[in-house]
Symmetry: C2
Subunit: 382 residues, 2 copies
């Protein structure tokens, strides 16, 4: 008997691979002669192609944002809580496009792909990417899909940076920009965490100076530690305390145990690190964190965010979460202040949550409701 | 011409090694038959031995808290800003004792010492230690020095935990307890950072499952990453931003550089990690962080900190720093509330500072003044 999916699920979905052979000039000065992008779409594009929504993914995300790839899938896509029939990003109304970014490791051209010039995987030689490169490749994707203007470009975290860059680079190609748990640039502390994670990868002897694919090796330990570092910054101190406390797994408190893992939080982190390191490419992780570090929305606008946003034509929704310390509410308020300074229409919500940065992925009543309301407004424009 | 030291410096100092051969029962149930403690002392013990002050060190500290070991030393001891003639811990008035804790790697018996049972270094087989073991060994040290009662036991961070444990375990042997930038127990997030640091060490193939000394190897990369993780948590987000900003070392912002280190903060962290990994023992680092994780002041008092402190006889000074997020002011306020609940004399100061957890080591006017004032009160009791 075939599995029945929930009524508000997009159900079974299939990724498609689109090939692009018009060379893409990159911010680094290098050029990709051709590349693939893997995408998923949910819902139907309407006749005037006015109902398309672009989902931009974060550091470890990919194209599979909603639904299931098979009836046996235990988990749906990473933003299934927010994409589907009747959900905030309502697939009864919107045509939702989700892609794996260039440089990714889930099917789009990236470090694990074959470099046509050598016949071997790109590996560490894959060109450095900046957020604007992703946005440019997404604009090509829009062209391919016949979408002149997005109803909305939406992203959380690194995805929010892409959404903002869209508003600056292609002001006429989006009507709404939704920026969730993001920032106009990283702080020194953010960069420090990313750098330590990269160091953990590079110090793993199986990294082989980035040439692990050729050596049929894999820096699993290094990537696992990198993910553990990242994971701590995605959760809040309080949230971790409520979830794990100081519970130990076994043994006595005085003596410790003879097992290597003693506190529950240790067990959880090791699991997260190990699971991630089995499914993600190390060179991609380095590339994506570098794109994060280098993102600086207003740099070429004399470091003036008001000036940066002055050319934007769309409306904005900005959302932050109280216990997010990776991209704290203060970072979102800076975005809002710049938008107000530039006389743009912006709605802002600071949502109470214990889930830290991860909150943007999690069903939270107030967040769900305000997101729904905002998207109702977006669909009213259709 | 011999170098002249500043008038408020203790000048040239020499460590001494004291041997103890009365077996020390440990919280783990194991026993150390004999051990050495390396100490330094500054100032003179008075005739009734009432002016002695014990300095307890933090995670990476040691006995060399003040003065210089040679005229060529570039840097004085780690707390030289606060120990010396006329300084808050005034060596004209106090006899200051500073030791390297058991399990350390600066001369006291620890993982790098020879295990008499095997004739080889203890390495990973060195017994697990808890804060109470250090306090017990420090009580033996006091006996040896003829100090029945400390004028004050003083410590920052992990050192503050030792000071509090003294107040509970040996209530008649100290008159004042000074607890700076500390906590009654670690949060899940604190443990998570420590665990990730330990994982970085253990993942280094040169760790050899803890037996690197026997293999004449050394997990330098792993320890370096561990230190980088730690270091981020010692500094504040704002402080890092002010010190390093988003400055890059060289190259263009779009292209990045071809150098592996791009942002100034990266260079700084790598330097810190590398310097530390050249001077610290990996097994000691694991042992010390585990002692931190397991410290839980009130656990055996039905998790009631008021009950825990009820037997204390000394007066307390508690100090926290506004931007310390490793042991946030909230953690210090919990100590103060418990002390008030237990009807103990406590002074509390929350000092404005941009230096995060590291503030306790750094000269800061208000901190310096209030510490001086409190210690004046301590010496008035002599």
């Amino acid at each position: 008997m075939p599995k029945t999916f929930a009524q508000d699920s997009v159900g079974l979905v299939s990724p498609q691979t689109l090939h692009f052979d018009q060379p893409l000039e990159l911010a680094s000065g290098r050029c990709l002669d051709s590349y693939d992008l893997v995408i998923e779409t949910y819902g139907q594009l309407n006749s005037d192609a006015s109902n398309a929504v672009l989902i931009c993914h974060a550091l470890s995300g990919h194209h599979h944002a909603a639904g299931y790839h098979s009836e046996d899938d235990r988990k749906p896509g990473w933003w299934d809580a927010y994409i589907g029939p009747g959900k905030p990003i309502d697939t009864n109304r919107f045509f939702v496009v989700s892609l794996n970014n260039l440089g990714g490791c889930h099917g789009s051209t990236g470090p694990v792909s074959i470099n046509p010039a050598t016949g071997k995987p790109w590996g560490k030689d894959f060109p450095k990417l900046r957020v604007r490169d992703w946005v440019n490749s997404q604009a090509r994707l829009a062209d391919r899909l016949g979408i002149e203007q997005w109803a909305a470009v939406i992203g959380g975290s690194l995805g929010g940076m892409q959404a903002m860059r869209w508003a600056l680079e292609y002001p006429n190609r989006l009507r709404h920009c939704v920026v969730i748990a993001s920032a106009m640039k990283l702080t020194a502390q953010n960069i420090a965490f990313n750098e330590t994670a990269r160091q953990a990868i590079c110090a793993d002897p199986d990294f082989r100076d980035g040439d692990y694919l050729a050596a049929e090796a894999y820096p699993k330990d290094g990537l696992s530690i990198a993910r553990m570092i990242g994971h701590i910054t995605y959760l809040s101190d309080d949230g971790m305390g409520q979830k794990f406390g100081r519970d130990i797994r076994s043994g006595s408190f005085e003596r410790g145990t003879d097992e290597p893992v003693e506190f529950q939080i240790e067990s959880y982190l090791r699991y997260q690190g190990s699971a991630f390191s089995g499914s993600f490419d190390a060179n991609t992780y380095i590339l994506m964190t570098k794109a994060l570090d280098y993102f600086d929305l207003a740099r070429e606008y004399d470091n003036d965010p008001v000036k940066a946003f002055s050319g934007a034509q769309c409306k904005f929704l900005v959302v932050s979460f109280t216990t997010d310390w990776r991209f704290a509410p203060e970072r979102s308020r800076e975005i809002v202040e710049a938008l107000i300074g530039a006389d743009k229409a912006v709605s802002y919500a600071e949502v109470e949550s214990e889930y830290g940065h991860d909150a943007f992925l999690i069903p939270i009543d107030r967040y769900y409701q305000l997101f729904t309301q905002y998207m109702n407004g977006v669909s009213a424009d259709l």
